[in-house]
């Protein structure tokens, strides 16, 4: 039985962060989720529930999203990665596995690079190397540049097929359900998030991300064309790429088929060998 989420809002230097932890009994390091732009933590719940019930999962609202406070000044990715590391200190986690989706994928790359000791394995879904990328169609990007879909859910339902692609093109109900979970906290937070990505790129240090990395890409992703994910896979040395037959939000729409892939990637031995240290005592001679 999966355990209920534990919500806590913590304060780090005047910045309030809303966090949710689904406790787990697994021996695996917990999974920290970096969510997409403007997306509050509730949006990943369907995905979390598709994962193994005993896996511990940590999600949070980035500053300016959902239940976290909106800072007065903009921020950049390295600062956010540091904030995430401090959040882990506060919640008392030493090492985690990290999954980053879309905008959160950029933050995940930054986190894995800036805090390698905190991040054991890395999963990147529907994301890119930032400014050095092959952009999606301009009409799509324009729709993305505005937080309107989060502020006015009906608008989100209308544009979902164009921006998310994949299953959203086929099933209008999906967009309605997705829109129902949206908790906006205003335009400013969204613009701060956009600003963080302005001019940011990981292309010059991707080869230094040494963590085992799983890269998941949708083949019908209007926002981030597949070629970007191929480039990530090419630059990150210990990575493997899986292409999924879906759009931008396959973590939500394809949760049932993507979750086992992710679990297989994260899995470790159930009872690994334990080797205890200590001075070698010579066994007494028989």
């Amino acid at each position: 039985m999966p355990q209920p989420y534990i919500f806590r809002t913590i304060e780090l230097d005047g910045q309030y962060l809303r966090t949710a932890v689904r406790p787990g009994s697994s021996t695996l390091p917990p999974l920290l989720v970096f969510n997409g732009i403007g997306a509050n933590l509730e949006l990943v719940f369907p995905f979390v529930e598709a994962l193994d019930p005993d896996l511990e999962v940590i999600a949070f609202d980035v500053p300016g999203v959902g239940g976290s406070s909106t800072p007065a000044t903009p921020f950049r990715f390295p600062g956010l990665a540091k904030l995430a590391a401090r959040m882990l200190d506060y919640l008392d986690y030493s090492q985690v596995n990290v999954i980053g989706v879309s905008w959160g994928g950029a933050l995940a790359q930054q986190f894995a690079y800036s805090h390698p000791e905190r991040c054991k394995k890395l999963i990147l879904a529907a994301t890119s190397a930032g400014a050095v990328m092959v952009p999606g169609r301009p009409s799509v990007l324009l729709k993305m540049a505005s937080p309107r879909r989060y502020i006015q859910p009906s608008h989100g339902v209308n544009i979902a097929p164009d921006i998310y692609g994949g299953a959203f093109r086929r099933d209008p109900q999906l967009a309605k359900r997705h829109a129902a979970k949206v908790r906006s906290s205003g335009k400013l937070g969204y613009y701060w998030q956009l600003f963080a990505g302005l001019g940011w790129t990981s292309v010059h240090w991707l080869h230094k991300i040494r963590q085992p990395t799983l890269i998941l890409a949708g083949d019908d992703d209007p926002i981030i064309p597949l070629i970007n994910m191929k480039m990530l896979a090419w630059r990150i040395p210990n990575s493997e790429l899986h292409v999924i037959d879906d759009g931008h939000l396959f973590l939500v729409t394809r949760a049932q088929s993507v979750a086992p892939m992710i679990m297989a990637f994260l899995s470790e031995e159930k009872q690994p060998a334990v080797i205890r240290h200590g001075a070698a005592l010579r066994a007494p001679r028989a």
């Binding site: 040494r210 963590q211 085992p212 040395p237 210990n238 493997e240 297989a264 899995s267 470790e268 031995e269 159930k270 009872q271 690994p272 060998a273 334990v274 080797i275 205890r276 240290h277 200590g278 070698a280 005592l281 010579r282 066994a283 001679r285 028989a286």
Partner: protein, 560 residues
Amino acid sequence: MGNKSNNEDLGHKASEHILGPNPVVGVPARDLITTARMVMRQTIKQPVHSMRHISRLGMAVTQVMLGRSELGPSADDKRFVDPTWSQNPLYRRYMQTYLAWRKELNSWISSSDLSPQDVSRAQFVIALMTEAMSPTNTALNPAALKRFFETGGKSLMDGLTHLAKDIAHNGGMPSQVNMNAFEVGGNLATTKGSVIFRNEILELIQYKPLTEEVFERPVLVVPPQINKFYVFDLSPEKSLARYLVNNNMQTFVVSWRNPTKSHREWGLSTYIEALKEAIDVVLEVTGSKDLSMLGACSGGITTVSLLGHYAALKEKKVHSFTLLVSVLDTALKTQVALFADERSIEAARRMSYQSGVLEGRDMARIFAWMRPNDLIWNYWVNNYLLGNEPPVFDILFWNNDTTRLPAALHGEFLELFKNNPLTRPGALEVCGTPIDLKQVKTDCFIIAGLTDHITPWDACYSSAQLLGGKCEFVLSSSGHIQSILNPPGNPKARFFTGGEMTGDAKHWLETATKQSDSWWQYWRDWLHTRGGKRKAAPAVLGNDNHPALEPAPGTYVHER
């Protein structure tokens, strides 16, 4: 003609020295460079000492130039056998200058004020340099010049072709063997049998009995996780598997899968769980309630951990076991351990975890540099300077058919190597149970090789002391691989038995009896006395639950 025999010699010489399956530390190049720097600094740190050696070298070279020097290569140095080196005055002086330089460098470093460990590291680095700069490795090598004139220049063309091929296909290392001359399942690993069980990690091969009657108790062979299993079934005459089926044993061999990146997390526990499944299948198929096992090298470590695990569970599925060139007590250091300090072990672990596997090819390359004369420069001369094909030699083919090692297992082997937990009860825990080797009360047979420099025989001997059962220790006169491939009928083979197990290894050897021929026969008799009753050999391989899936050597062995 002369070429052919020369070629065979080359292969045999190399196979004496192939480092074979040994899951240890890589030597990061960084450490070599640090050591080289240390050597350079030493020249300045002890100027008087260094000057003294330089002047001694000057005097030695003067003697050489005047033709009064008696310097000559050591008896086991086969590089300078060509009479030109000793009879042509110019060549003689060239060789002697080289020998004098090498000798003086070594005496300078060994009498310096560095710590003993730094001295051995420095000696290693200096040897790398001096072996590389041997006059025999240059185009002036008289044998190469002769070949050049004999073949009208063709040898040079062939040599350059080989060099180009190796740069393209062999990471710039001289090929040790002609890889096209063999085929697994074609002319290697040909003993008849079937895969009767397969899981993610291993295939279980049952060999077809070749006798009317068999002993009730089967034997299961657990090969190392590095390199392929067919060292136990190499060629029809060099096959332990065939020898066993010829001698009334129901024989099963494990063939490990060659892991890829996605098997990063396979560790000792995973391998032991897989073995437990295989053991249950063997017992079910043969109807026996227990079996005999053989573990070789790292497969021996795995087998012993499994036995400790069984002892903790009070399982009695293993009646007797055999350890072949396997070191459980890593307190005694080998050459490989020279660079194995905390930092390099950690680095090796981290690197293999990140990439998911340790590449067998990289491992083989590191080992080749541990014995550069036998494994690199010999081939350099043969393939490039003389323009010969690399030898056709099955052992070398097997050694070059490398496998990867999953990161978790590699990390655990490194930990074992560093912390030596098998010597302390409860210090190692696998599959959730702590292990105490003294609780392993089964009879065991332990074989080591006298000239084995990978798993030195005294380390194997002290490993024998860790076990709780009745131990028979046997010492073969060969090296690491030759100890395994030891078919009867070799007039040169010797082995020692029956020494006193109460003292140290030296004392054991002094009190042991020397016997001629191969330990295989002696071991066969040991197995037979523990084989139970005789019964009619089974007509089919496998059973209804585990039918024969495909003929030996199976699928996993072909995964490159």
